[in-house]
Symmetry: D3
Subunit: 256 residues, 6 copies
């Protein structure tokens, strides 16, 4: 049995609170067990230089932790004078995940800034960030849609993420911090509601893993993803009705 | 009447939630109206170089805002590559305010890190930070005290802060953002529960003010301070009984 | 008696040398006792982005010390790689003080850069900087005025600053470094020639102070301010005749 | 047919030149088609702070490109003043990949610095870096081994990497730049010579992919890995005989 | 006799490989003994702000070393967070040397970026960089010339550089690292093919030198320069025929 | 005739004020014409890491300009966020020049920090800095010597510097800013009182120069150096009697 009494294929309790702060176009507090992340989506009426004049939008993310989100206090990036490598990797991942389910041409010349600020970290902060940020993104897109309807509603699919891993040779879903810090294999899966992969990042630095291991982990992650997407739907209720009405999942963006 | 219906000498609703996150030795969410700040106190078993071997402790603060705590998104310090001048000023103020009521020799060779992270900003974030951080500090000191009692309990007084100001020639207590952005005179007062000043910072960049103006504003602030200290006491309940048992308020620290 | 033989309410000798260096539109060496600051005012024909198109000017300040202005050598900011918090606080204060007596709309779309570089520091460098920078500012404004007269002369009032404090429970005017480093209460007052406050910054980190203490300190500071303004007038002579001819002191700028 | 005439499951020509520069303990030029990377391994007789006194070694990597390794000149990191997010992600990946096949306890209190500097980039620079850096690492470890034999030879397995992807819905091995820039799915696989995964990083930002797609890509990558490991063996010749003599692949490092 | 068997006035073997990498407009690997530098010239169709609208071009240089180009690994500039003083000095020198033989008005509104990246350092990297960068520059200028002929061919002269020095009171040409690290006098000479000086930088930090010493060193350097220019000519062959056809060496640029 | 009426081989008026500020062990204001530099020497009782335990001292320099030392205001390094290349080159030059005349072993494990802060710049700031810093250095060394006599007095020679150049094909001594900005050849010479060179830095970016040109410029510089050394002697008076009593000029330091 696991440290917090869960079965190996059981995720933690998920709670999604929308409209958590009042200024952002989308603002969500997502909690998965003791992990808590504030995800906001902010709309800006311009695009980064590399997209100027291309009639497309952009979604970009910044991820950070409050200094005492963790067991021992972590020095702020600005105090160390440089960006944390792990933070940068995570925010790039979140950005890719969200862009993958949005039709950026349909969005038009807008940037949506996603901010994921972890206020309490107990493992799985990057996957919680993706899942929570998606809800904030939908709220922001809907605010735009209500003010001036998009021709093609830009959000095509739900996207969620979960972690799976191997701890003491046992495969587990949704690792908490204690499990994660002992994991031999650590894998993050990003998936749409059509069951397709957006991203697979698996590392066996401590324990090279086989094709069979991989298959079992992927099966486990599918279960976790379904659960998370259900939580997103429960939270968004009527506000997710437009998703996917624009275009199918098999999009081919040629932009880089 | 004021924009949110308050009388001129009326502060906003105060709510202090202790044990807001689980890792920090002290962790408080303070809300004054729509302003919300997470204040944590973290204990570290060493002191900065300038205090090494002096047998004294230190309290230092870092203040920051989440990017979308404000009406328009603010670029993170690490993205701009430099520390925000306003943030630095505020964190120095908070540090001074808390150190002023703590016997640093009694604390011993420890550093208490105060982190004030604003998650929603509607004016008065620096005064709310001081008031909330004090409660987090007491929780952290008590945790040390319970583990191994101090000879002299280090917290000597309560300390709180409020803002006052002149808006359209009218003097007001506890300005919200809309009032603050139009204020002609803007003043922050830090005071102990014995009614003495720790800090007065008043600026009349838009409207030089007289001695009489000053006196009226100070009288108004005393009312706000009393209120805030009562909220701190209500929140701490039995956990503030040690405060002031160590030594009197008239301390003379010679350390810098 | 004080360390340098002064009475408690006596300021140090003030010396203001105009046209100290040859390129700046205004260039002043101000000496108060052993404190020496070079203050220059430089005119630039554009405004910062947030004022573009608003038909107003701006005044901004940078404050720094030469590395060996102090008793032990201080590492340069660029060598430490970050801006000193104290410097930033001081330069923001100087900027506010000067802007408070200037009609920025009358100035027009210009930026006046104030540089205060301390070449020798013996306490009171921030107040000396404000007092000296005002003279440099007037010289720079006059240079513009002679070249092409302003419709409304932009400088409305004199502004000066002094420090007061409590050392060993004794209240004193214009603290030198030795006094300042032992001060229990440390207060900086910025005032106009009409006797109104622009800024009050008082800190009793070592010694919470009462309303009565405050009143005595403010009375003492008024004396110091009068003295300093007289020195500014003696130095500027005929070149200060335009000050206040534009508009009254009770201005209400709505710009932030 | 592919742009350079290859079959879909055909990798590019691999050339590994050992002892490419003269000072580093290991120094390799690896070329895969037009991609050229200088990989050096440098031994330092100490470990980072977090490993002090733990009697273990460390392997860390820095990855960079010469400014004109690419079609248009890329600004140096030091000129932009901040580390490139992509570079940081890649160097973290390379470090993990190499550490995964080394017994860090057997290595002892040493750090091996891996530097991968791309002098010409035509796609697949991160996978070439891993494959080349492994050879440099073995040379550096052998140099230590010859000077003073390890009790347990620290390198347990070969490790190599390849890229696979989906371009215009066609699955391909070892993408060159033109293919990579149009790829809908982009995947990097790191694998040992026992056919186990160290790392899977797959992104379908442009094209969510199915389990079947994944399986086909993984099969293709296995072929590429085998080829690359053969090239490493051909290059190392007798100098790879010690690999794996220390301990089996199924190691369980508990260090983080 | 010298450490590597050379006579005192004998330079090391020179090898210049053009078209070393495939993307840059000019790309050269220059080797002088064990010193190896990749020099690229990249054309950009705009000029820095200070030249805008002046109808002139610019040539600027960046110089760097791979971390393990040297005997012990050197920390990257981006990791130290600041630019190396020595690197900056060298890149400014290379820029001046190349600009001195180019008619920037004839070049037109273009910037040529020179990148000198040392992959192996055995003394004389800055002089090798100048000599190699000149060849890369000519290749880049010729590429422009072939696409659209210049009215006046912009390269007026060959430029080369060598080092000379005094080691154990003995004067020597083209110091290798071991000699350089013991040199009492260290001098770098940049010269045109007309035998005129562009730059003399001589330092006798360890050994003040006389006019006679200087004269002997200059004579020695002339020999080295001639040799290096011959190597440039041998390498460029027919591609250097245009050099000097535009205008004479006695140019007087008034640009700064 | 020159712009300021001087003959071509005539330097500007030199004024050296010792004990210019009160804290530094050596503090000099040097003026050459309108160029004014504050040079301080500060003693620190430790050496940089690379000299630890070697029983030698070190001399290092920082050079900077006040923002309005120049005709148009120059942005501070800390505001630009990076060190100015020119500043870095100059401070390295000053450091080498001073170290060349000091017996660092005789100095013992001390660092002397030289700070050269230009308060007004009219050409020749680097040479004025060297000449003024030498006097500050002697004052600092004497202060040490008086407190506890050196076995071997560490300063062996006087060192001074001047600039020479070619403007409109005319050779001139000690260029002022207007001349310098039009110079075709610009040369800085550092020399001891025994007439030997410490450093020659000559650049003909605008005008390659011949051996004959060089010889004429060197002859001119000797005259300027003699003048400057006389000014140093006149200023130091009896305080320069120890110089050279320790050891002869032909020192051979083997330290790097």
């Amino acid at each position: 049995m696991r440290i917090d009494g869960r079965r190996n294929d059981q995720g933690r309790h998920i709670k999604i609170t929308r409209h958590y702060t009042k200024y952002a176009e989308g603002s969500v507090l997502i909690e998965t067990g003791d992990t808590k992340v504030i995800c906001t989506a902010s709309v800006e009426d311009r695009v980064p230089p590399f997209l100027k004049g291309k009639n497309e939008g952009w979604i970009t993310c910044e991820y950070n932790m409050l200094p005492r989100a963790t067991q021992s206090r972590k020095v702020r990036e600005i105090s160390r004078g440089k960006i944390d490598g792990r933070n940068m990797e995570i925010q790039r991942l979140i950005g890719r995940a969200l862009r993958s389910v949005v039709d950026l041409k349909a969005l038009g010349e807008k940037t949506i800034w996603i901010d994921c600020d972890v206020i309490q970290a107990d493992g799985g902060t990057r996957t919680a960030s993706i899942s929570g940020a998606f809800v904030a993104l939908v709220d922001a897109v809907n605010r735009l849609h209500k003010r001036s309807p998009f021709k093609i509603y830009p959000v095509r699919n739900f996207v969620s993420a979960v972690s799976v891993g191997i701890v003491n040779k046992v495969k587990m879903l949704d690792l908490c911090y204690v499990e994660d810090s002992r994991a031999q294999v650590d894998m993050n899966i990003v998936m749409t509601d059509t069951g397709k992969f957006i991203e697979i990042q698996g590392t066996g630095e401590q324990y090279p893993f086989s094709r069979d291991d991989l298959n079992e982990l992927l099966a486990m992650s599918e279960k976790g993803i379904k659960n998370m997407i259900q939580s997103q739907k429960d939270s968004l209720k009527m506000d997710c009705l437009w998703i996917g009405t624009g275009e199918s999942d098999e999009k081919v963006n040629n932009s880089k």
